[in-house]
Amino acid sequence: MTAQVESVPLAAEQAAPAASAPRVPRAPLWQAAPLGLVLLLFFVLPLLATAVVSFWDYTEYSLVPDITLRNYREMFEGCADVSAGGCTTLRTYLSTFRLCAEVALVTVPLGFLVAYFLAFHVRGEGVRMALFLLCTAPFLTSNVIRMVSWIPLLGREGVVNQALLALRVVQQPQDWLLFSEFSVVLAFIHLYTLFVVVPVFNSLMRIDRRLIEAARDAGASAWQTLWHVVIPLAKPGIVIGAIFVIVLVMGDFVTIGVMGGQQIASVGKVIQVQMSYLQFPAAAAQAMVLLALVLLMIAVLTKLVDIRREL
């Protein structure tokens, strides 16, 4: 990096011998411009539009530019009344948080163990990379198809029920296996464990192996080494993985829709339904609250670790 910075004036000199004063190189600006433009047009402006529209009024047919808190007020109507079971919004958020917790509690340890096995127990760089690719390749295939492929396994007449009946574990086919919270969580684990494996693997591969040896030489047991050396050093990867999983589950509506048989409530699903009824300002307000919560959760999680130092 340093070598490069030093050589820039040299290149500039060759290109334009007349320009002697040091100047900011223009090239990086042009090179970064397309990325900036795409993000401006399809990320920044859309979020601004959402923020603005969340304060608009609406009728059955059209959006009415306004500055009103109607959408936010309607969202939290009755929330203070705990005796009536709280409001829909609160219940939806609680159910979404529960899903997040359930998924994170499985994917984070599972992803860690998979990454740990790859990084510390597999010998030979070639085998390690092959197994790593085997773990990550499904990320490049369709999520919906991967959800659909649980149907022949978990359905009423599926493989699992057939096996349970044959082994006489149950007397009747079990209905809770598919189109239930169970199948939603299972599908999330299936889809998102990868998002923990990759960053944790990255963290583990950076650990200086001499530290492990030093711990062992100092008399630490395998568990002590894992707990006091490996896990603290892998924390950034664990946190990044957890952020991915939690954020993906928080905003999900596809998995919850397909695997939950359109029966389970989630924030993403609420937004999608409001969109389909053309209640754009209401959906925008929901989206703003969701966004704020997600950013808050990321802020809390990143407090646990200095991510910048890891990049």
Binding site: M1, A3, Q4, V5, A11, V24, A27, P28, W30, A32, P34, L35, V38, L39, L41, F42, F43, V44, L45, P46, A49, T50, V53, L63, L110, L113, V114, F117, H121, L134, C135, A137, P138, L140, T141, S142, N143, V144, I145, R146, V148, S149, I151, P152, L153, G158, H190, A222, V247, L248, V254, Q262, G268, I271, M275, F280, A284, A287, L291, L311
Partner: protein, 289 residues
């Protein structure tokens, strides 16, 4: 000590194998079931083996024109692939030097990755709706004939849809480029410059051959992520759906192994693309050597 370590190894190896079975088992199950006989249902047992459901699929799934959705998704995937590679490469190049706004652009890219997809999708939908309303208002105000008669929306596959996909693929592309340039032997580049190469020559004859395989990787991500994208596309595509969106709709309506045939075919395209990419990387490396 040796004994205990090897016990841990086998325990973890067993867990890893189960994990792989968990990852691939379901997909292999529908691969098998897609060859179900004409009498067969959505689950085992197999009622013979046939290509029946592929034939049904070839003839079209009910009211949905699955093949034009297929073509739309391929076309969009290819455009996303090319743009992702080009834009990520240029940006990766830029980030090797300092430029104003660098930190903000990086944080924006990461934000684009982690902001929930439904929020991005909704935002793009709103943006285009506001744009449409503005265009129509202008059309009425200035009495512009083609707007008043013909204009409906600017939303579409290659406007809002393309943008939605790029917000998802570009951060991945940029992160890959970071990883590449962090390990890049800058001395070679400098040597090229010292020998009198112009910036373009250095790029063409020194940098490109070295990073070529990684660019294939970026292209692979660009195509496959676009090919399977649902959440960001869902609200931002207008009235002509991509293949994954049609597929998502079909999960509730189709109750025959036809959906497994379609699923296997979709996965087949992904596997084909992944295979092609790896072959291209291997070939590139061999030619360079």
């Amino acid at each position: 000590m040796e004994d205990r370590r090897s016990f841990t190894f086998w325990l973890l190896a067993a867990l890893f194998s189960l994990f792989l079975l968990f990852l691939y088992g379901p997909t292999l199950t529908i691969l098998v079931l897609s060859f179900q006989g004409p009498e067969g249902g959505l689950t085992f047992p197999m009622q013979g083996a046939s290509l029946h459901w592929y034939r049904v699929l070839w003839e079209g799934v009910g009211v949905v024109d699955i093949w034009s959705a297929f073509r739309r998704s391929v076309a969009l995937g290819l455009v996303v692939m090319v743009l992702t590679t080009a834009i990520a490469l240029a940006a990766g190049y830029a980030f090797r030097r300092r430029f104003p706004g660098q930190g903000a652009l990086f944080q924006l890219s990461i934000a684009s990755l982690i902001v929930p997809s439904i929020v991005v999708s909704l935002g793009i939908a709103l943006e285009f709706r506001l744009l449409d309303d503005t265009v129509k208002a202008l059309g009425e105000a200035y009495d512009i004939a083609w707007i008043n008669e013909g204009y409906t929306t600017a939303m579409g596959l290659f406007s809002s849809g393309l943008g939605a996909h790029l917000t998802w693929t570009l951060p991945f592309g940029l992160l890959i480029m970071f990883a590449v340039f962090n390990r890049f032997p800058a001395a070679l580049e400098e040597a090229g410059r010292d020998l009198g190469g112009s910036p373009w020559q250095v790029f063409r004859h020194v940098v490109l051959p070295l990073i070529g395989p990684s660019l294939v990787g970026v292209a692979l991500f660009g195509f496959t992520l676009s090919w399977d994208e649902i959440a960001r596309t869902s609200q931002a595509i207008g009235d002509r759906n991509t293949l994954p969106l049609e597929l998502q709709g079909l999960t509730t309506t189709v109750t025959t192994p036809e959906i497994y045939a379609l699923g296997t075919l979709t996965t087949g395209v992904s596997v084909l693309v992944i295979g092609t990419a790896f072959a291209a990387i291997a070939l590139w490396r061999r030619v360079r050597r």
